[in-house]
């Protein structure tokens, strides 16, 4: 890729800690379970998202990680809705919710499939939630990798910038399975501005090592 994009802001959510652009934004109780932690983060962000509690845990994680990187970025003032995209990845797809959904159908004698749970049995629904909340309509896709693949992901997004498909993109890794979670989400942009570093696999590895 001849031309790279730029990383505007990034968030890391792991081990009940939230880091935004290299500084700690929030720390939950070390012993708190995910449910407690994520609700505390939601309250700390002081936002209202009407379907927050209905979302599955992976979506809660992805939505809030995105909220962090977008909250001061005013992207809808800079770009039109189709100029912003979302490209995410993980390794467990929607397996956590697939299991939860299975619980509602496995017993023929207590058989009540849940539509609200079923809706979340796809990994890209988190993209749907992010787009609905932030009114984003540009290109979006979800990749499944065994582990986070910065080379592929940065190339893919930079290609979208170079070809003019997008001017800005929310991208990264949102993984949740059996209480183990990890989110690394950042906002990349095609043009340079203040306080940004180059969008490349090397830079990505520098700001977050998995």
């Amino acid at each position: 890729m001849s031309s790279k994009g730029y990383i505007q802001s990034y968030s890391i959510i792991k081990n009940n800690r939230v880091v935004l652009n290299g500084e700690e934004f929030f720390a939950g109780g070390a012993e708190d379970d995910f449910a407690t932690f994520i609700r505390a983060l939601y309250k700390k962000l002081e936002i209202t998202h009407s379907s927050f509690y209905k979302m599955d845990d992976m979506c809660k994680l992805g939505l809030l990680a995105t909220e962090l990187v977008l909250k001061d970025a005013a992207i809808r003032e800079k770009y039109s809705d189709t100029e912003i995209g979302v490209v995410l990845s993980n390794s467990s797809s929607s397996l956590e919710t697939d299991t939860a959904y299975y619980e509602t159908v496995k017993d023929r004698n207590n058989y009540f499939p849940s539509p609200a749970v079923f809706v979340y049995t796809l990994p890209n629904i988190v993209i749907g939630e992010i787009c609905i909340r932030n009114k984003i309509k540009g290109e979006n896709t979800f990749f499944i990798f065994e582990e986070y693949n910065p080379e592929f992901m940065t190339d893919y997004v930079n290609n979208l910038f170079v070809s003019g498909k997008l001017k800005s993109c929310v991208t990264g890794w949102v993984e949740y399975y059996e209480g183990h979670y990890e989110a690394f989400v950042y906002l990349a942009e095609a043009t340079q501005g203040d306080n940004r570093c180059i969008h490349s696999a090397e830079q990505v590895r520098k700001i977050y090592s998995f």
Binding site: D81, V105, I136, E139
Partner: protein, 398 residues
């Protein structure tokens, strides 16, 4: 970026020729559930591939003791057909990628074995299936069978998945990262899926009627569809026929609801519009649209609205082939890419079965008879997935 090979397996045929024969003789593949054990067995019509797992194992040429999922088997059969039909076994190996898509992965086996996995006293051979669950697993097994090592990935974006695979493959070749790619997707029918869609109340208890005013919902299907895409340079090797071209592509998000499409079809409208731009075409250049047309009240109205907005009074001839194959979920983009290419190659437009009366809200009537001898230069193929993921592809005659 040109298309040199096709491969497909669906409820209407186990290979490209069988599918084409069924399409042209108006024979759909919808019927009662045969291969799954579910309370819905004689109630909900589905569109299954007409082979048991054992028969698929034989057809795929696997050892019958191997732990392999139905998803992998369907994928191997279709991807191999595409690979061989493109003559890739006869030319020098260049940088080749395998880009697949699925929503279900190994769920078919997992849903049956799950209680046994959890029981510490129950051990045995079945434990080998544990690692076949992940979406990426079927991709790996298929790539392994075809000997593709240069690049491999799995896309999982619901019903637009394999359209997105094709889009990625085309871009990677355009960017000079690959010379060739086999791209598409696969999904197999599972009790998980049937129950889930049933609880959303979007299944029809009869054969689906895409774009018809009385439509009640979709019929779930299964299958796999792959196309071989090559750079023009790579396609020159070996004197092989070029079937068509991937002319355009686009993806947008509807940003409206997790599983429903917006009333004004904004996501669909933007995806189709952008795909035309990438293809360098105007609306009037499209000769045929293979619509997403699932038969749900919501999709068909939303998609129809988007079509009316984009094409105005001159909506091209269009049809949904889902009344033949059912909605094959993650595979539909790939299967319908094969059908779109067949339409161009054979100058044929396949009919939209079960249509009688157009929707009250729109003035849209699909093609209801088989049309032959039609000079089709440009085809638009739509695939819209849950999560608002909307994709459109344009295929061009060479």
């Amino acid at each position: 970026m040109v298309i040199t090979g096709l491969g497909v397996i669906s409820s209407i045929g186990n290979n490209v020729q069988e599918n084409f024969n069924a399409l042209t003789s108006l024979k759909p593949g919808i019927g009662h559930i045969q291969n799954l054990d579910t309370v819905h067995k004689n109630i909900i019509p589905v569109s299954e591939v007409k082979l048991t797992d054992e028969e698929l194992v034989q057809m795929a040429g696997f050892d019958k003791n191997r732990a392999v999922t139905r998803t992998t088997l369907l994928g191997v059969i279709a991807a191999r057909e595409a690979y061989l039909s493109a003559g890739l076994d006869k030319v020098n190996k260049l940088r080749t990628g395998f880009i697949s898509a699925t929503s279900v992965g190994g769920m078919g086996k997992t849903e049956v074995l799950y209680p046994r996995y959890l029981d510490p006293n129950d051990t045995g051979d079945f434990m080998r299936f544990l690692e076949t669950h992940d979406c990426g697993e079927s991709t790996e097994r298929i790539a392994e069978t075809l000997g593709i090592k240069d690049f491999m990935t799995t896309i999982s974006t619901a019903c637009s998945s394999s359209a997105n695979s094709i889009m990625l493959a085309t871009r990677m070749i355009k960017a000079g990262m690959l010379d060739r790619a086999i791209a598409g997707g696969v999904d197999s029918l599972t009790v998980f899926t049937i129950n889930g869609f049933n609880t959303l109340m979007i299944l029809d208890r009869e054969h689906c009627r895409p774009f018809d005013d009385s439509r009640q919902g979709l019929n779930l299907g299964e299958g796999a569809g792959y196309i071989v895409i090559e750079s023009e340079e790579a396609a020159k090797a070996g004197n092989r026929p070029i079937l068509a071209e991937v002319g355009g592509y686009a993806n947008t998000n509807d940003a409206y609801h997790q599983t429903a499409s917006s009333p004004d079809g904004q996501g669909a409208f933007l995806a189709m519009k952008k795909a035309l731009e990438v293809a360098g075409l105007k609306a009037e250049d499209i000769d045929y649209i293979n619509v997403h047309g699932t038969g749900t009240p919501n999709n068909d109205l939303s998609e129809g609205t988007a079509m009316t907005r984009l094409f105005g009074a001159n909506v091209p001839k269009f049809s949904s082939t889902k009344a033949y194959t059912g909605h094959t979920l993650g595979a539909c983009g790939g299967i319908e890419a094969v059908y779109s290419t067949l339409a161009i190659m054979n100058k044929t437009i396949f009919p939209n079965l079960n249509f009688k009366v157009k929707m009250k809200e729109l003035d849209l009537t699909p093609e209801t008879s088989l049309l032959s001898g039609v000079d089709i230069k440009n085809v638009l193929s739509n695939s819209f997935g849950f999560g608002g993921n909307n994709s459109a592809l344009v295929f061009k005659k060479i």
